[in-house]
Symmetry: C2
Subunit: 152 residues, 2 copies
Amino acid sequence: MDAIDLSLVELLRGNARLSYAELARQVGLSAPAVHERVGKLEAGGIIRAYRAEVEPEAIGLAVTALIGIVEDSTADTDDVLEAFRQMPEIESCYFMAGVESFLLKARVGTIAELEQLIVRLNRTPGVASTRTGIALSTKWENRPQPVELPAS
Amino acid sequence: MDAIDLSLVELLRGNARLSYAELARQVGLSAPAVHERVGKLEAGGIIRAYRAEVEPEAIGLAVTALIGIVEDSTADTDDVLEAFRQMPEIESCYFMAGVESFLLKARVGTIAELEQLIVRLNRTPGVASTRTGIALSTKWENRPQPVELPAS
DNA sequence: AGGCTCAGGTCGATCGCGTCCACGGAGAGT
DNA sequence: ACTCTCCGTGGACGCGATCGACCTGAGCCT
C-alpha cells in the first residue's frame, strides 16, 4: 500500500469505470503493472466492490429512513444482526456506542412499506425498541473524501 | 425507463465494471444498443456515478460517526448546508424530519480529528447543537437491494 | 392505404484496451 | 559477487468499445 496504490484507489473512488490504460497514464506506470496492482487491491479486500450510484427515486425507492435499535437484555447480537441481514431494505448497518446498539439506513418505496419494516424490526427477537427518523431529502451520500498522501 | 433499463441499472449496481459486451449478453441486446441506453441513463441522472467501494481503514479513515444537527432560530438552512459541504469529512448529509434538521455521516482518521470536526460544527453559524454517535463497526454499507420488476 | 419521420435496434469495421508472457533491473540475504 | 525475489516493461493477440450505415415498426398526416 504505497503512494501509487493510494492514487489508484483514489481514482477508482472517483470513477470506477476508468480503463486500466487511463489509470496507467494517470499514475505513470504501464497498463499491466496497474492491472496487477488493482488485482492485488481487490484480492486484499482494500477494494471491496465497484458500484453504480443510482438515483433511488428512479428505481422506486423514494423513502429513506434512519433507524436506531435498542437491544433488550436477552438479545444475542449476532442473531439480531443476522435477522437484519435478511431484510433487503436495510442498506447500511452500523454497530454503535451508546444506548442504541445499531443504526440502520433503510430505503423503501412508500411510507406504508416503512411502517411494515418497523413492525418487523420491533418483532425481531432481541429488539427492545426502535427510533425512526425520516430523511426528507438526501443532500449527498458517500461523497469520496480526498485522502492525503503521507508526506514523503 | 423500461424493464431492460432496470436490469442494466441492477447489473451495474452489483458490478460497475461490467463491460458493455457482458451487459449486452445479460439483457439480450447488442453492445451498441446497451452503450446507448447506459449513456442515456447517465445523461438523465439516473446513474450518478461509478464508485469503487474501499475499506475505509485502508485509507486512514478508521473512525465513523453519525452526527445529528439542531439548527437555531436564526439559521438559514442553505447557508448551513453550504458550510457542511465545505467539510470533506462529511460523506453523507440527510435533511431530516424532526428536531434534528440534519443527520451527517462523517469519517475521520482519529478521535482527535472527530473532536475537531465537532467543534467546527458547533461553531458553524445556524447550528444550535450537535449529537454524535460513534460507529464501533460498520457491518455493511450501501448494500444494493434487488428492485422488483413491475409485474407485466 | 400509402408514405414520412423518428426512435431504437442490428451489423460490420476499425481502433484501442485487456491480458498473457517473456524478459530485465534493483535490492536483500548469504 | 551470486542469486532470489519482486516489480516493473514491452510485445503480441484477441476481445471490447464505438462509429457509421442500414433496417424495422409505430405513429401520424394526407
